[in-house]
């Protein structure tokens, strides 16, 4: 199982029937592929849709039905469409139960930086700041490290996405939560020891008495 699949499968286990879920681009998008069939969630696309379905078959795509990246999607029975004011009313108003976003850095207190690398092109924050500020639960799904450097850092050096802290980080090697506002190792990826995770994590981690392996 590759790193992205581990992350996608583990995040999917956080979803419950009835949840309204918003998935960011990149790894978060994969989560939809791993939702167990007995769990019925609503996926929101922030361009104005609840009830996103899979990519339509060849020849069935409709030009006015796309995801937030402009790619064709389908809509499940019971879907609803709305304008952008409603879409972000849902997001900022706490109606999104879970948002899953990519990350550049998450720090020891749960702050997220995911929209800007100073000195590089700034494409804009899109809906990320609203999602992190407003969703009931924020899960970051990302590789644990980039080019050998831990993305779980002591303190974010990149510009923050929100002053609101996130709830959970799922990486290819660990699940980290923030009880009492401190990064805490909740689970390790199959086959990895606590010490191995700590060794590749810049932030200091609180280590509970028992740290189970991820079930994926």
């Amino acid at each position: 199982m590759d790193a992205q699949e581990i992350i996608g499968r583990r995040v999917a286990r956080e979803l419950r029937t009835g949840h309204l879920v918003n998935l960011g681009i990149g790894i978060p998008t994969l989560v939809a592929n791993y939702v167990p069939s007995d769990i019925k969630v609503f996926f929101q696309s922030e361009n104005g849709l609840i009830g996103t379905g899979p990519i339509p078959e060849q020849g069935l795509a409709h030009p006015l039905l796309t995801d937030a990246g402009g790619r064709p999607i389908s809509a499940l029975p019971g879907a609803s469409t709305f304008d952008s004011a409603m879409s972000f009313g849902l997001i900022r108003g706490g109606h999104v139960d879970v948002t899953v976003l990519g990350g550049l850095q998450v720090d020891a207190e749960g702050r997220l930086a995911n929209w800007m690398i100073p000195g590089k092109m700034v494409p804009g924050m899109g809906g990320a700041m609203d999602l992190v500020s407003g969703a009931k639960r924020v899960i970051v799904a990302m590789q644990h490290a980039a080019r050998g450097k831990s993305k779980i850092v002591r303190k974010c050096t990149l510009p923050l996405t929100s002053s609101r802290t996130i709830d959970l980080v799922v990486t290819d090697i660990a699940v980290i939560g923030f009880p009492d506002g401190k990064a805490t190792l909740m689970e390790t990826a199959p086959g990895l020891t606590v010490a191995e995770v700590m060794a590749v994590t810049e932030a200091e981690l609180v280590i509970p008495d028992t740290v189970p392996e991820m079930t994926i």
């Binding site: 006015l64 937030a68 469409t81 304008d83 952008s84 972000f88 900022r92 092109m121 804009g124 700041m129």
Partner: protein, 215 residues
């Protein structure tokens, strides 16, 4: 509401005008109006839109033609031309959170001076903005946004100007239709009065100034 040709409609937009354009990554954008804006070479536009789409599509065409002098949007990540023009200081770009953007436009359309949003507190977005505390929670004061023109794309428009939208092509269209001095609309289908049931009208007729007639 007046039905006019696309040439007449765009002729009303002066160079340097502020315009809001509907659409989200090119979906739900009034392409015929933008094509004509390019043809009439309306320069120096102050553009307000969700994004910059991609080259060759939707709002992207305005960047292809070099017509934009300033852009207020939530992201331009998928349009390299808009990015190049920003880096070359040919256009001034104000990037703001998407929810804040749409709420500022809604405020402009609904006669509100602004709204208080938690989005952006404690980030670079807060710089230069008033921060207001309510019951111990911090909010940014984000002010209303309006434009001279709104270019709207609807799915159905009836002879009076009532509009409805389809699927994810709704996005910013009904919001900008309230926030501009002059509202110009293209529709996929122009239909007789009554085809759109009262409960399904999203933009009521009195908001529309010009509907682009079929050729």
């Amino acid at each position: 509401m007046k039905a006019i040709s696309v040439e007449e409609a765009v002729a009303k937009i002066p160079a340097g005008a502020s315009i809001m354009v509907g659409g989200f990554m090119g979906v739900g954008t009034p392409e015929r109006l933008l094509d004509e804006v390019v043809r009439q070479h309306k320069t120096g536009l102050a553009l307000i839109s969700n994004d910059a789409a991609i080259p060759g599509k939707g709002i992207g065409k305005l960047f292809d033609a070099g017509l934009v002098s300033s852009l207020t949007a939530s992201h331009i990540g998928l349009n390299p031309k808009a990015q190049q023009q920003m880096l070359a200081n040919q256009i001034a770009v104000d990037l703001i959170p998407q929810g804040t953007l749409v709420e500022r436009i809604r405020a402009g359309g609904c006669g509100l001076g602004g709204v208080l949003t938690p989005t952006g507190v404690g980030t670079t977005v807060a710089e230069g903005k008033r921060q207001i505390e309510i019951d111990g929670k911090a909010f940014l004061l984000e002010t209303a946004l309006r434009a001279q023109f709104a270019l709207v794309h609807a799915f159905l428009a009836d002879y009076l100007g009532n509009l409805s939208y389809a699927l994810t092509a709704r996005n910013f269209n009904p919001v900008i239709a309230m926030a501009a001095d002059t509202v110009i609309v293209t529709a996929e289908h122009i239909v007789p009065v009554g085809v759109i049931a009262p409960d399904h009208v999203v933009t009521p007729a009195p908001l529309v100034d010009y509907l682009i007639a079929n050729e």
